[in-house]
Symmetry: C2
Subunit: 213 residues, 2 copies
């Protein structure tokens, strides 16, 4: 077992030496997004009752929070995923963000989209304790992206809207291509990926990835 | 919407032109492995009854087959995954192959290993209609690899045991590094990945990936 471990480490080191070194690539911490839902004020009231307001469970970045409230989502083939977390505060449009694995489980065709870009995306039913909402569109698989401040962007040598490749150096070893850069004063440096991407690359929230030059 | 699509396609094409062309990389079809279990003759009898033999549902590559029989697996935190397909024929050691997503769901620490390399891997309980088996070790996450014949290996310019990177050119855009090459006369050309890897890269069985030079 130990010999095997040494052999594997040696192999990985030799591989790393043969590759171009990426230690100088700009380092970005990972933030893994589990499936979740954003709701309008109106949809919160339909699902939880007239005048109901979401309650905070945990503060997140950018003024968002994980709510205590959960819903069940049901796709057009009537398959359900229970206990989907609501993220507050309320938004102008309700939006469900799932993984590709979830979309297969639900039997729906959710497109890969940037948050907010829901036109023509998959329909989905949302069930709460006091009512149900049928979203004609709004179910997407989030497109991976990196949030950063203008200062980070300057240091990394990238601009808002750029597309980059990001290297994960670990046992599995994965490069994510077509990663969008989003720059805003309010953004904390983080690469947002979904649970499929995290599990396929064997990375978790807080792990460091590097932008390839 | 249409304008947006054209814009995206243009962006992807320009990105592709900026990258080194990989159209000349050796093409390999993908085979996605869902979670499954291999059993010893003894374990089949414990789970399904004395003298029981697995029945074929579907022929697979390399003389293997998907059996009609299913089991439930339970991790040390007593969480279960139902309807896990058995692959026949029986083997010398029982082995459960799951995804990283499954290992999180089960609450177990399954290592990433090549098939057959189960020493010190995660323990797991297997439940059948007539009995149960507790595997002290045997639960792994399969390490991604490419099966090929000696002729394919020659054409691709690789050898048994080599490690390569494999490029997926599509909407998500992913490069799988640390991919093992396994060469054998009996092997049909195919890259074996698990459901996490397939869903994260948005590829399915039969899609083509390319070995990077």
């Amino acid at each position: 077992m130990e010999e095997k471990t040494v052999e594997m480490i040696t192999k990985l080191v030799m591989e790393a030496m043969n590759q171009k070194s990426t230690n100088e690539g700009f380092a970005v911490p990972v933030g893994v997004s589990a499936r979740h839902i954003h709701l309008t004020k109106e949809d919160v009231e339909t699902l939880f009752g007239k005048g109901y307001e979401l309650t905070k469970k945990k503060e997140l970045m950018g003024g968002q929070y994980a709510a205590n409230e959960l819903v069940t989502i049901v796709g057009i083939k009537l398959r359900a995923i229970e206990n989907v977390r609501i993220l507050g505060p309320v938004r102008k449009a309700s939006q469900v963000e799932i993984s590709a694995t979830d979309s297969i489980k639900l039997g729906i065709k959710a497109p890969i989209r940037e948050s907010g870009d829901i036109k023509g995306s998959a329909p989905i039913a949302v069930v709460g304790p006091k009512g149900v909402v049928y979203l004609q569109e709004g179910c997407i698989i989030a497109k991976r992206h990196i949030h950063m401040s203008p200062a980070d962007a300057k240091e990394a040598g990238v601009n808002n809207g750029d597309t980059v490749s990001v290297q994960v150096e670990n046992e599995r070893g994965t490069t994510f291509n077509h990663v969008s850069i989003r720059v805003d004063e309010s953004f904390t440096l983080e690469m947002h990926i979904d649970t499929d991407e995290a599990n396929a690359a064997k990375i978790a929230t807080g792990n460091i990835v590097r932008i390839l030059k």
